[in-house]
């Protein structure tokens, strides 16, 4: 008889599910309300060094769209039909006061839509600071590294002006340690899922990681520790599914129904780039340094995950995707990008070619975060799964 998932796991998953899509950011706002020195700093996809916000007595809060959980009415009036869906939801949240208690906002350099959204926040005078976070695209330590450090120092100063808290070496090292553990635990979940994907569905995994973007890292680590321990035990039953890697969903997030449909169609998602920012730094960052900021800078220059937001000449993403597929022992890739997402869609032909050259099967489709019909996607994913099972 099939062993059932532990009750405690079910309870934790329910908690994560509620947290993940709380677009009022209730937990974060309650956390902030406990001290006038606490900060809430919202950040958009993909990556910001959350350690610096944490060390400044702040909570970094991921603002990664409203999905299909909020009807967009006013936001649509700010965007033409050919702009992706993500910023509409964010503007809707701005106008509906969801983001009112936030102190600042960071807009990582990922595309021109997010870049210009930073200007819209400035025009709307939203937050005590809103800053376009212009990652260096030069990866030499003394060139791009110096520039990046100055950028981070500017954000640290922005936060200092609000709460008068000076970040010490110890603070920053402690924060690095917490986020190291966070990334390590997330990686452990992915590793367990790689071998036993039936123990935790892709949707549950999604909720767990997304919940971590709206709560403090200490609490998220507690949840992750428990979940890792629970899923390390045997339960559930494997299905005759293929194993896929999802690529292209790093910014606007696919609706939950779509992730579910892919798995129900016979595809275990063994790796993905949903919420890539939480997994951006590969491996740990030195947390015993006398200059921890330098460690954060170096980690960006040398340990960043492959991403469409990063200039990749010399380290092509297609080769890195092929390695990812091999390492995860996946059968294929599903290219799944948001409509009108220039970074993902302009990378797609080369990534597909990389898969073709390596003999890796792939399919692709596009979505909006509020796509409501999954029949076609389910059929496409199902056919993909069947064709691999039958022919590969």
């Amino acid at each position: 008889m099939m062993k059932q998932a532990p009750e405690r796991l079910t309870a934790l998953l329910d908690e994560c599910k509620t947290l993940a899509f709380d677009l009022n950011f209730t937990y974060a706002k309650q956390w902030k309300s406990k001290s006038k020195y606490r900060l809430l700093v919202g950040y958009l996809p993909i990556y910001v060094p959350r350690e610096i916000i944490h060390a400044a007595n702040g909570m970094p809060v991921g603002i990664i769209g409203v999905g299909d959980r909020k009807q967009i009415i006013k936001g649509d009036a700010y965007y033409q039909s050919y702009i992706c869906h993500l910023p509409r939801g964010i503007i809707e949240m701005v106008l509906d006061t969801n983001l009112d208690t936030f102190d600042g906002f960071l807009f990582p350099s990922i595309c021109d839509c997010v870049r210009n959204l930073s200007g819209m926040f400035k025009l709307a005078k939203k937050g005590k600071f809103s800053r376009y976070f212009d990652y260096p695209q030069n990866f030499e330590k003394h060139i791009g590294g110096t520039f990046y450090r100055e950028l981070i120092e500017t954000v640290i100063h922005d936060m200092f002006l609000i709460n008068d808290m000076k970040i010490t070496t110890q603070h920053l090292n402690d924060s690095i340690a917490l986020y190291n553990r966070n990334r390590e635990l997330i990686e452990m979940i992915y590793n367990i899922r790689q071998e036993f994907p039936w123990r935790l569905s892709a949707v549950d995994t999604y909720h767990i990681i997304r919940a971590g973007m709206v709560i403090n890292v200490e609490k998220h680590n507690e949840i992750l520790e428990e979940i890792v321990a629970l899923i390390d035990n045997d339960f559930g039953e494997p299905m005759d599914n293929i194993r896929v890697v999802i690529s292209g969903s790093f910014c606007e997030q696919p609706p939950i129904g779509m992730i579910k449909s892919i798995e129900m169609a016979g595809c275990y998602i063994v790796d993905d780039d949903f919420m890539l920012g939480s997994r951006w730094i590969n491996g740990g960052i030195n947390n015993t340094s006398a200059d921890p900021l330098n460690e954060i800078v170096n980690s960006f220059l040398t340990q960043s995950a492959p991403s469409s937001a990063i200039y990749d000449v010399g380290n092509p993403k297609s080769a890195r995707l092929v390695s990812q597929v091999r390492n995860r022992k996946a059968d294929g890739v599903i290219f799944c990008a948001a409509s009108f997402c220039d970074p993902a869609l302009l990378d797609r032909p080369d990534l597909q070619k990389g898969c073709d050259d390596a003999g890796i099967a792939h399919i692709n489709f596009q979505f909006h975060e509020n796509t409501g019909q999954f029949k076609v996607i389910k059929e496409q994913a199902g056919t993909f799964s069947d064709s691999i099972k039958l022919w590969v």
């Binding site: 990922i110 400035k122 025009l123 800053r131 376009y132 060139i143 791009g144 200039y311 869609l345 797609r348």
Partner: protein, 433 residues
Amino acid sequence: MSNPKEAIKEKSMVIQKEMLANLFTELSNAKENGKKVVYTFVPGNLTELILAMDMLPVYPEINALQSGMRKKSGSYIKDAEKMGFSEDVCTYVKCDIGMMLNGNIGPTGEKLPDPDLLLLSYTGCFTFLKWFENLERLYPGVEIAMLHTPYQEDGVITEEQITYMVKQLKEDVIPKMEKVAGKKLDYDRLGKMLDNAAKAEDLWVKVLDTAKNRPSPIDSYFAGVYYMGPLNTAFRGTEEAVSYYEELLKEVTDRMNLGLCPVTPEGEMKEEKFRLVVEGPPNWTNFREFWKIFYDMGAVIVASTYTKVGGLYDQGFRHESGKPLESLAKYCMGCYTNLNLPQRVDLIEHYIKEFKADGFLINSIKSCNSFSAGQLLMMREVEQRCGIPVGFIESDLVDPRYFSYANIKNRLESYFQMLGQRKTILEQEEVNA
């Protein structure tokens, strides 16, 4: 729709046509003559550096827009889409890749040479980065240099940003250029070119300023895209460009002194009824029909943001030979699409007031998020601050599928009607006062 006749051209346009024809001939013979070819972008271009090392620049956006004007872009785009590029992405990229797939034939019918260097001046447009990543794979083994231009996110250019750019130029970009060119950069020569650039920039600003006159002797958008050509592309820094702008200024000043309206492809406009400021690039596939809608209604564009993608000289920037690399860095960071949204709104407000515009119009381009994302908020801001009628139309750069003539014409006619009514009311109020 009108049946396009042979366009009437000003003398400066004829000169420019010759300059371009010579360039394309030189490009087609580049390999035989041992000339190295550099592919690069218009915003934040480093033309003086390229020319100072005796290399020849090719601008993929210019190729794409010329393909659009020659009605070839539609099939190029479809070819790129067959290769896997989504319908949703930038059509300049797809047109360029499609053109390459079809033999890379330039506007004069001659084949463009393959690049010896891909010089990615990553300024004001994220897609540039993706574009050149793709080109690098299509031209395997070719040298590639990348200059990251920081965005003016805070509305200022900082010393740290300048240092970052100068370091990239000194330690990465210039050494790669020197390697490809097979020679060291001659800073004296570069300095002379920057001095020439500044002379041409002075003249260009004087040309733009003539639009403050009533009637304006130029159309700063439809004709402006021709006028800006030599400065934004392969000729900035040359004596030739200075001569071109001298001629252009003379021509425009003569027109202004005679109280003439702009020259259009169908001859001189008879009356200036409306003065507009326009934001966003034009549509290239139906450029003449698009322009005709305006001049048929007596609408003149007195200032435009698109003509500032290659540099905001009218706001005071000049290339300087004293600190050449710092000057190039400031130039790159000062291009229009590298400004943040509040800066863009301020600039538009300034244009509306300075050029005494009757209206503000946005041509929102499907392909260009750098321009388009946020334009609807910009429009509201401008309307609030300036209290003039604003209009909004949509088209694309080079994808003919996204140019709906009837739709655009209807919208513009309604807009001009609104401008006309407002003008009548204002005139009446003035009489009553």
